[in-house]
C-alpha cells in the first residue's frame, strides 16, 4: 500500500495543479501600471475635435477611464453595464475611443446611449499603448492624485462593478 502512496500523492498534486491552471485566464496579464501615475495624454475630444482633454484635468477626482471602440464586440456586451454605472452617478466615466473612426464612434454612442462624461479620440492608438491596452475593452480606476488603482482587461460585468469598482471608488472618495 505504501508503495503506491507516493506516486498517487504526486498524481493528485499534479491534478490539483493542472486544475488550478485550467481556471486561470492567460489573457489576464497583471498590469505593471497599478499603483503608478496614469500616463499623460492630451487628446482631442470625440464630439468636439477642437477641444482637448487630459488626465490632468481630473486631478482631485476619482474617475473611471474606459477604453472602447465601435468595432469591439465585447464593448457591445459591456455597454449596458457602463450605462448602469453612469446612472448611479457615483463616479464619472470617461471614454477613450481607441483606434476608431470618428463617425463610427459617434454613431455608436448615438445608437446605444452615451455613459461617458466625454470621450477622447485616440485614432492611432498611441495613448492606448501608453496605457498598456491590448484587449479592448479595458477599464481603469484612477484616484484623486492621478494614480491608477485598478485595471480590468475585458468587459466589466455587473458583479465586477458591484464587488470591485464601486467599493474601490467609495474608498478612494473618502481618502
Amino acid at each position: 500500500m505504501t508503495r503506491f502512496a507516493i506516486p498517487v500523492a504526486i498524481f493528485v498534486a499534479l491534478l490539483v495543479l493542472l486544475g488550478i491552471g485550467l481556471k486561470l485566464d492567460p489573457r489576464e496579464v497583471p498590469s505593471p501600471l497599478i499603483g503608478k501615475a496614469a500616463p499623460h495624454f492630451e487628446l482631442p475630444e470625440l464630439h468636439q475635435a477642437a477641444k482637448t482633454f487630459s488626465e490632468r484635468d481630473m486631478l482631485g477626482k476619482v474617475w473611471v477611464l474606459n477604453v472602447w471602440a465601435s468595432w469591439c464586440v465585447s464593448c457591445r456586451e459591456e455597454h449596458p453595464v457602463l450605462l448602469d454605472l453612469a446612472a448611479k452617478g457615483e463616479v464619472p466615466i470617461y471614454g477613450l475611443n481607441y483606434k476608431d473612426r470618428r463617425e463610427d464612434g459617434l454613431a455608436w454612442l448615438k445608437g446605444m446611449g452615451d455613459p461617458y462624461k466625454l470621450s477622447i479620440f485616440d485614432f492611432d492608438g498611441r495613448v492606448g499603448i501608453d496605457y498598456g491596452v491590448y484587449g479592448v475593452p479595458e477599464t481603469y480606476v484612477i484616484d484623486k492624485s492621478g494614480v491608477i488603482r485598478y485595471k480590468r482587461i475585458g468587459p466589466l460585468t455587473p458583479e465586477i462593478v458591484k464587488e470591485k469598482v464601486l467599493p474601490l471608488v467609495r474608498e478612494l472618495g473618502r481618502a
Binding site: V29, P30, P32, L33, I129, D130, Y134
Partner: protein, 153 residues
C-alpha cells in the same frame, strides 16, 4: 509579336515589380533587421504564443512601429524593451528576468531533473544491493555447468 519586342516588353514590365518588392527593405535594412531581431524576443499580447515579429495583429504592428520609431531616435535595445515592459509588464518578454517571482520558473525544471536523477540513482543502488544475494562460487560453477549442457541436477 517579334521576339526582341516581346523580350523588351517583358523586361520593362518586370522592372517595377521587382522594385516594389525591394523598396521597404531598401529604406533602411540595418534598422529593419534590428527591429525584427528585437521583435522576435517580444511577445505579442493579442496572440500570446506569437512573437511581435510574427504577429499580424494590429497591435503588434503598432508596437513594431513604436520600436522602429524609438530605434530611429537612437534609443538602445534595452531602452526600447524597458519602454514596453513599463506598459505591458514582464509578460512581453520571452526571456523573463530573474526575480523572486520568477525563481521557480528559472530553476524549477533543472531542480525537477536533479530530483529525477537522485531518485534514479537511489533505485539503481538499491537494486545492486538486492542483487548481492550471497551466491557462492560453488553456485556459480554449478550454474555454468548447467548452462553448458552438463548433466542435470
Amino acid at each position: 509579336m517579334p521576339r526582341p519586342l516581346a523580350l523588351l516588353l517583358l523586361v520593362l514590365l518586370s522592372a517595377p515589380i521587382a522594385a516594389k518588392e525591394a523598396a521597404p527593405a531598401a529604406a533602411d535594412p540595418v534598422l529593419e533587421k534590428r527591429v525584427m531581431t528585437l521583435a522576435e524576443e517580444l511577445r505579442c499580447l493579442v496572440c500570446q504564443n506569437q512573437t511581435l515579429a510574427e504577429s499580424n495583429a494590429p497591435l503588434a504592428e503598432d508596437l513594431r512601429n513604436q520600436v522602429r520609431e524609438k530605434m530611429r531616435q537612437g534609443r538602445s535595445d534595452k531602452e526600447v524593451v524597458d519602454f514596453l515592459v513599463e506598459r505591458y509588464g514582464d509578460f512581453v518578454l520571452y526571456r523573463p528576468p530573474l526575480k523572486t517571482t520568477t525563481v521557480l520558473l528559472w530553476f524549477g525544471p533543472p531542480m525537477l531533473l536533479a530530483v529525477g536523477f537522485a531518485v534514479l540513482l537511489r533505485r539503481v543502488r538499491r537494486r545492486r544491493q538486492a542483487d548481492d544475494t550471497g551466491t557462492t562460487d560453488a553456485d556459480r560453477r554449478r550454474a555454468a555447468e548447467l548452462l553448458a549442457g552438463g548433466e542435470p541436477r
